[in-house]
């Protein structure tokens, strides 16, 4: 069978969509809620944080180019601890994935199509995800490239046409010190650090462009970080502190844009970006979960378990929260701690340190 390889464009678009799929639209609201008018500085800090993790991911790739994260766990910590870390990774993916699906469905329902039944969205996302995963990573990667181009054009259009609406100055800067800014950076960090997921597809990275992988990871993170910062500056500059009351501030801005009679209702671009981004994000998360399960159970292919696993994840998502207040509290305050203290920061850093120590000992 021919070995599937992604090219650098597909890889960078996967990183972009993985973070920007939900992040670009909700991050400005969550950072302003905690950091106030300095929310955009929180995003810069979280970008730096993500770049650091991006470097760790790159070094893991450099040492283990043919292994996935589960394989790296086993090689670095031994078979038993490696398997346990792998099972933990699957649980982390299931928890995160169920809340991403819930978030995707509830926002589509509450903001775009309030009179529809929620179960319709679950069924629609379910069918698309099953189809994409049955088709494989190549289809997912190509769709990622298409949606990335669309997302970039949409956001650039919105940024350029929203410039005349800017009227609120971003002052006073750091009036309450660095503390709220650092607290505010946790939430975007939990989104940006999802770059760790690409370590599940190390064996699919383009071998002939191995030297460019570092650039691809770092430039993709810089692109998402830069775009998020610009969008936050825009939302704060247009909506001011009202941004924190909006779950979807960019959507509100897109509705405000009006140039003559023909250039209006740009909110449809946001709707498309949200639905496309969420679908691809769910698909990639799910692909990584299936790869992890495949490796832990030592089975040849993940495809025969796609349908039952999708049913499991959508059932978990359906019962993920009791109401949307609980969901937004969880995503804004609890999820950042859960993810950063598990597979998005703590465990990769520990694995990296153990790997360095073991390499040092073996060379000595």
């Amino acid at each position: 069978m021919k070995q599937i390889r992604l090219n650098t464009l597909q890889l960078s678009s996967i990183i972009f969509i993985q973070i920007a799929g939900t992040g670009l639209l909700i991050v400005p609201g969550t950072v302003v809620l905690i950091a106030g008018i300095d929310g955009w500085i929180s995003i810069i800090i979280s970008t730096l944080h993500a770049l650091l993790l991006g470097m760790i991911v790159f070094f893991l790739y450099k040492y283990f180019p043919n292994d996935t994260l589960i394989g790296i766990f086993e090689k670095v910590t031994g078979k038993i601890i490696g398997k346990l870390l792998g099972v933990g990774f699957v649980i982390y993916c299931l928890v995160s994935l169920s809340t991403v699906i819930k978030q995707g469905c509830s926002i589509t329902l509450n903001i775009f199509l309030p009179e529809s039944k929620p179960v319709n969205f679950y069924i629609a996302y379910f069918l698309i995800v099953v189809y994409i995963l049955k088709m494989g990573i190549t289809v997912l990667a190509r769709t990622n490239v298409l949606i990335t181009i669309f997302l970039l054009i949409s956001f650039l259009t919105i940024i350029l046409t929203a410039i005349p609406l800017l009227e609120i100055p971003l002052k006073p800067m750091m009036a309450e010190g660095m503390k709220p800014i650092l607290k505010g950076s946790l939430s975007p960090s939990s989104l940006m650090n999802q770059v760790i997921l690409i370590s599940m597809i190390f064996p699919l990275f383009p071998k002939e462009e191995k030297g460019n992988i570092k650039k691809v990871i770092l430039y993709s993170l810089l692109l998402v970080g830069g775009l998020s910062t610009i969008l936050s500056v825009m939302t704060i500059g247009i909506l001011g502190l009202e941004t924190k009351d909006q779950y979807f501030p960019i959507y509100t801005i897109a509705k405000l844009i009006e140039i003559d009679y023909f250039w209006r209702r740009l909110d449809v671009l946001i709707m498309f970006a949200w639905v496309g981004g969420v679908t691809l994000k769910i698909s990639f998360w799910f692909y990584c979960t299936l790869l992890a399960i495949k490796q832990i159970l030592n089975i040849e292919s993940y495809q025969p378990i796609v349908l039952p696993m999708t049913l499991l994840i959508f059932t978990l998502a359906f019962y993920a929260t009791n109401n949307s207040t609980e969901l937004s509290y969880y995503l804004g305050r609890v999820y950042p701690l859960f993810s950063l203290l598990s597979y998005e920061l703590l465990i990769p850093v520990l694995i990296f340190i153990i790997m360095l120590v073991r390499k040092g000992v073996s060379t000595r």
Binding site: L186, L311, T315, Y319, Y329, L337
Partner: protein
Amino acid sequence: MKILLILLACIMALVFEMKSNRKEGHQHYLLINVIVLLIVIFTTVIHEHKPFTITNIMIKFFQPMVELIYG
């Protein structure tokens, strides 16, 4: 009602996967599929009797830390 619908979806998924697995010679995946679908039914039954949710459990677990950080 929800339990019945989930049960129906599980049976449909199982039949569909069994058919395609038999075609591709992957019969040994049946056990994994059955276990996963039993977890699905178990989750639904539990949730219908006690409204546990993932976010609720996580919020309870991380609450002290959230209060410490965000005040």
